[in-house]
């Protein structure tokens, strides 16, 4: 019986202190797997399935992959290990391989620890017992080093999506996050540095060439997952992304596929109809449809024993909903469950690109602008104001105000570097002051994730999605099957983000790049969809059904004890589940922070 707990690993340096720390860990937590440095000392210690680790050795050097990759990479890795003199030389290696993996190297006492280019695999590090420890999970590092969460980091989580770079900040001040696209290097004498091995591509490729690259990268991404064969399952939501994954997975005869659909209430949602149409075109693939009465409501099980995660997750409100299909597929014996997560981020072109397009290609940009304004019913004045705003990122961040924020209007235009963070009415004055200090401290040196508002916004959104996806994968594995998102492989994202913004941003076409890339692989009927399912009704019903438990939560909450939220205000609102304030991410992020603290902090360790 394989261990279905979330996988994690630590990396220890090749010296006495590192070796001692690793030994303590293995005594404390029996049953961990490990791989050794050439010296025989522990290098990688953690929990993973045997097929998820590949170690290639040559003399004093070793290169390892952890995660999803092709076993055929072993030969090339061994050759590379043989000629390696410095772990900094490995910058080009990862992008020659398909999948999602960490790349580790141990070269004569020097270390390289590298995640993936867009954050699907993360790297963190801290110090314990006088030695560096790196790893893929901030929460595991914090537990190893006995750290308490940082109240300021918790407060930032209450803003929903905090502005970059605060959104990437670990929840423990002694844990450092290596940015996606960078590798952590440690020299034999313990000097640390970050080395950027990847930058997102410039968006200059025309649609046709870009679509061919997306097609190749996606075919490889799915094949690396189907190649080991066996029974696999995939979401088939009725949306374009999971439909694409299903059709690509069905091509590989080595694996047997079950397509799994949860239609929701079809009186409101067309997803089910589109999923059945797609399934008709997938001969030989079993189509499982979840009976709608078995679909849990939002907020059902929000107080289930939590997963130990790196940060609060809005998944608390939807964990049972999100994993109900996974659990069914686990019962059927699926070894891997594929999802279409990430497709929206790659292929729904953001109107934020208009900022740049208006300067470079004014006429097509104006046409697109009028299209977005019509489709989304945007009034002209705020759109013009936002597009005329030519401030840099730092100025935009410095201008963020948390006071007298008007009630958010759903669907109102937000085209600048950053949207207004959500400020809930229950945040205390202490909390607001703490947040203002953090924002003021970040603004003078903040660097956006991309040079233009369009690129920055799509990278910030992708990184947010990827963090949430890790939580979904952990929840899915806890429910019985490892989950995997081919769209989040570095080569797929690179291919999509290299296409010209003009070709990706089009209010007259839904996901035009994906549609072009899948022409001939996915039937025209499935590619023609221009609507998308949405779940407002289910959220409202879930709030109503769980209102007593949600109200009771704020009798003696950890956020209340930490002085960050006004419990009386939260009790008042939760007792009236139709409160509009509960419906957006303000309440969700508060609930997420509370439940995360309850899972993470032990009984005595309240926030100071």
């Amino acid at each position: 019986m394989p261990d279905r707990g979330a996988p994690f690993f630590f990396v220890f340096p090749d010296n006495e202190a590192g070796s001692a720390a690793a030994r303590h860990l293995r005594e404390d937590v029996p049953g961990l797997s490990s791989a050794a440095h050439a010296s025989g000392r522990d290098w990688i210690v953690g929990r993973w399935e045997p097929a998820d680790l590949l170690v290639a050795r040559a003399g004093r050097n070793a290169i390892a992959l952890i995660g999803t990759f092709s076993q055929s990479a072993a030969g090339a890795l061994t050759r590379r290990a043989g000629v390696l003199r410095d772990p900094a030389e490995l910058d080009d290696l990862a992008l020659t391989l398909s999948g999602q993996f960490h790349l580790l190297a141990s070269v004569d006492g020097a270390l390289r620890v590298q995640g993936s280019a867009y954050g699907a695999r993360r790297v963190f590090h801290t110090r314990t017992g006088g030695t560096l420890v790196a790893g893929d999970r901030a929460a595991e590092l914090a537990r190893l080093a006995g750290l308490e969460p940082d109240p300021a980091a918790v407060a930032l989580r209450l803003l929903g999506a905090a502005p970059a770079p605060l959104d990437e900040r670990p929840m423990w001040s002694a844990v450092t996050a290596v940015p996606p696209g960078a590798a952590l290097l440690a020299s034999p004498d313990g000097v640390l540095s970050e080395r950027r091995w990847h930058r997102p591509p410039e968006p200059v490729t025309p649609l046709d060439r870009g679509a061919a690259a997306v097609r190749d990268a996606l075919l490889d991404a799915v094949e690396v997952r189907t190649a080991p064969g066996g029974l696999i399952s995939s979401d088939l939501s009725g949306g374009l992304d999971s439909t694409t994954v299903c059709f690509l997975a069905a091509r590989d005869s080595r694996a047997r596929l079950i397509a799994a659909t949860s239609t929701g209430d079809e009186a409101f949602n067309e997803d089910g109809r589109w999923a059945r149409w797609a399934a008709e075109d997938l001969p030989g693939v079993e189509h499982y449809i979840l009976p709608n009465e078995e679909l849990p409501k939002f907020y059902d099980g929000f107080d289930d024993p939590g997963l130990r995660l790196d940060a609060p997750t809005p998944l608390v409100a939807s964990r049972r909903r999100v994993t109900v299909l996974t659990a069914k597929m686990a019962a059927r014996g699926s070894r891997l469950h594929l999802t279409g997560n990430g497709g929206d981020n790659l292929f729904v072109g953001l109107p934020h690109h208009l900022h740049t397009l208006l300067v470079r290609h004014p006429l097509p940009a104006l046409r697109r602008l009028s299209g977005f304004r019509a489709l989304l019913s945007w009034p002209l004045a705020p759109v013009a104001r936002q597009l005329a705003d030519r401030r840099g990122y730092r100025a935009a961040l410095a201008a963020v105000s948390l006071r007298d924020v008007p009630e958010p209007v759903p669907g109102s235009p937000a085209l600048g570097w950053l949207g207004q963070p959500s400020v809930a009415s229950w945040l205390t004055e202490d909390c607001l002051r703490l947040l203002e200090r953090e924002l003021a401290a970040a603004a003078p040196t903040a660097v956006p994730y991309g040079r233009t508002p369009g690129r920055h916004t799509e990278l910030a959104a992708l990184r947010g999605l990827v963090r949430g996806n890790q939580d979904i994968e952990d929840a899915g594995r806890a429910a019985g099957v490892p989950m995997s998102a081919p769209f989040l492989d570095d080569r797929v994202v690179d291919a999509a983000f290299s296409v010209r913004a003009l070709d990706r941003v089009d209010p007259w076409a839904y996901k035009p790049l994906l549609v072009r890339a899948m022409d001939g692989l996915v039937p025209r009927r499935s590619l023609s969809r221009t609507t998308k399912g949405e779940g407002t009704q289910d959220v409202a019903a879930g709030l109503y059904r769980n209102r007593e438990a949600l109200t009771g939560l704020w009798e003696d909450s950890m956020l209340g004890r930490a002085g960050l939220v006004d419990e009386a205000e939260l009790r008042r609102l939760c007792a009236v589940p139709s409160s509009p304030q509960l419906r957006d991410d303000r309440f969700l992020s508060t609930l997420a922070a509370e439940m995360w603290l309850r899972t993470t902090v032990n009984a005595q360790g309240a926030l100071a």
């Binding site: 209010p507 076409a509 221009t530 399912g533 019903a541």
Partner: protein
């Protein structure tokens, strides 16, 4: 719910004369949509006088004509002027669909405006039975008996 994510790429081929007529209906609808609900209801009731009920095909065609004639009418939140424009476009041909304002039967309150014909939603996603009608203006029935007496509503 399912939301529309893209504007229709192929605009139907309607003759110019009909598109101009629809533009006029759209212009009038945008003005009418600014009225308070009870005034709008009264105005539409008056406009519906003398029209015969639109068939599903007529109402669908009128909706397509409106969407083709005005980009703005395709908006995810343009339901009120759009529904009025579709009704007015039908009226130019002597028919009238049932114009409705209402909400989904289940929370949250989801205000929406649409037209129906022959008891079916025209161009809307979702099931007819799940929408509650708060205001509706149908074509006047044949003028007989009690209906005739109450027709000044």
């Amino acid at each position: 719910m399912s939301v529309t994510t893209a504007l229709p790429a192929d605009r139907g081929s309607f003759p110019l004369r009909r598109r101009l007529a629809a533009r006029t209906a759209v212009g009038a609808a945008r003005l009418l949509a600014r009225l308070a609900p009870h005034r709008l209801e009264r105005a539409l009731t008056r406009l519906a006088r003398g029209a015969v009920p639109a068939t599903e095909a007529q109402a669908t065609r009128a909706r397509e004509l409106v969407l083709t004639s005005s980009l703005r009418m395709n908006g995810q939140r343009s339901c009120l002027p759009r529904s009025v424009a579709v009704a007015l476009t039908c009226r130019l041909g002597g028919t009238w669909p049932t114009w409705c304002v209402g909400t989904l039967m289940i929370p949250p309150f989801s205000p929406h405006a649409w037209v129906e014909a022959e008891g079916r939603l025209i161009g809307e996603k979702g099931d007819h039975a799940n929408w509650a009608r708060l205001i509706s203006v149908a074509a006047p029935g044949p003028v007989t008996g009690s209906r005739a007496a109450g027709s000044t509503r």
